[in-house]
Symmetry: C2
Subunit: 307 residues, 2 copies
Amino acid sequence: MTLRLRPLNLNREIMELKSYLKDRKALVEAEMSKSIGDSGIPETLQKAMNYSLEAGGKRLRPILVFAGAEAVGGSHDMVMPAAVAIEMVHTFSLIHDDLPAMDDDSLRRGKPTNHKVFGEAHAILSGDALLVEAFSVLAGACNSSNQENILSVVSDLAHASGGRGMTGGQIIDIDSTNRKIDEAELTHLHMLKTGALLRFSCTAGAKLCGATEDQIEALDNYGRDIGLAFQIADDILDIEGDQELLGKDVGSDQGNLKSTFPSLIGLDESKKRSADLIERAISGLSIFDEKAEPLRLLAKYIIERKS
Amino acid sequence: MTLRLRPLNLNREIMELKSYLKDRKALVEAEMSKSIGDSGIPETLQKAMNYSLEAGGKRLRPILVFAGAEAVGGSHDMVMPAAVAIEMVHTFSLIHDDLPAMDDDSLRRGKPTNHKVFGEAHAILSGDALLVEAFSVLAGACNSSNQENILSVVSDLAHASGGRGMTGGQIIDIDSTNRKIDEAELTHLHMLKTGALLRFSCTAGAKLCGATEDQIEALDNYGRDIGLAFQIADDILDIEGDQELLGKDVGSDQGNLKSTFPSLIGLDESKKRSADLIERAISGLSIFDEKAEPLRLLAKYIIERKS
């Protein structure tokens, strides 16, 4: 991938980022298991929810929640509910996206999709339950000192995941299948479908740690840029990626006649576009000190990842 | 229906209740249309969401929110977000319940079900979006003076609608289809599947109006009792009801080999059971003055309704 940016090619940076990602992935995964495991949810539902929640994945969204909190000097404890909540919403969206009535996928992260294991009814309901659980975890984290921030993040999560965000993007995606859309429409679609949750992730942790308006605005811009770059990188991986590393079929976009950035503006221009977005994302972090270094490394990782 | 309770047989009471229900139904319906109609949600998604939201129904849950608020001297304005939110969650549940993978129903309130009109993918996503919108409406209603109450109601709504409430009940229902369950299991199932949202409705309005703990506990007990009575009445209507008034097939429970109260304890005992629950619900309201009169009339209506 051609970058004007200096890529993540120093051993030190790659090692640091790897260890950073691994640590924070473990943090959120430990907490997620606890969250569903408590009593009150019928066992068959718990199983279906946990199956998809524990199916792995990069945990990029919770990691961004942590990184946003770190950038403003906050702690992981303060933002754990938002980290867990966003991964639950993301997992809900994967379960529903994979359904026969939607993308009809049999494999996700190299494992059979939820409805293949538990049946369609349980898959629909376990998605629903994960979506609700996200709001439960978030609202349940309130105490007398953080009510205003929690409510603001609950509002943001609803905005990012509902008709004005991810679910809206999914509808636009379905409505535009098998029809040629232009670059503006494709950008809008992705800003909602994948961008909204990533953008939420970048600001949620900082908000919960009492960030200033300027800091939140800078993180929101960063989230907007890496969100779109992430999707362009996904489109590129669908062409150039390694099927085994991705855990899903490559070339599926072309097979589905989906409009993608490479199909609209070409592969080279797509690479340039994503690199430009990452460059802008990083330069917008100039108001932060070295505590935002993970966000800078993560931005590069977004377009250099292999899966 | 044999009642030890004096039934709603006085013209005055019936007229009063009719006008009460009509007024409050109009209140919440006016507000719901506004809520989805604003910009930001893609048009095809808005259409599918509004189709089911505007398909009518008794609006019993929002009316209970209002009645709970009235009982503690609160105003409709203060609780409108909860009234709208609970009807959105209820509508989401109907859309998903009707799906081919679930109950596979073609008619709801005498109209084609959501997926029959918009297709399965849009039906799944419009349900998802309504569920999220409920949290958005509720969290968006916060101001500096009501944050604690709003957050508590957001938590309650998540509890009532997710795996520990309605969605959990739906799973138990599916898991118990075509297998005989006992009365305790059936009661538990219904306490979650239909009871949880009704119970939420009875306390949410009062909580938002700053009710005391004693008042909330009394309303919670009332909601628990009318919730179960409501479901027993539904089972009875499935046997004795008028297909045209119900807007759905009668006898479907028997056709689906579903366990119901009449199938487990008999029709007469079911009628007695629901009447006992309503009697207990009403007597538990003794700490309230005449402002709780609508709740008392509503309790009787729950088991005397024809649809």
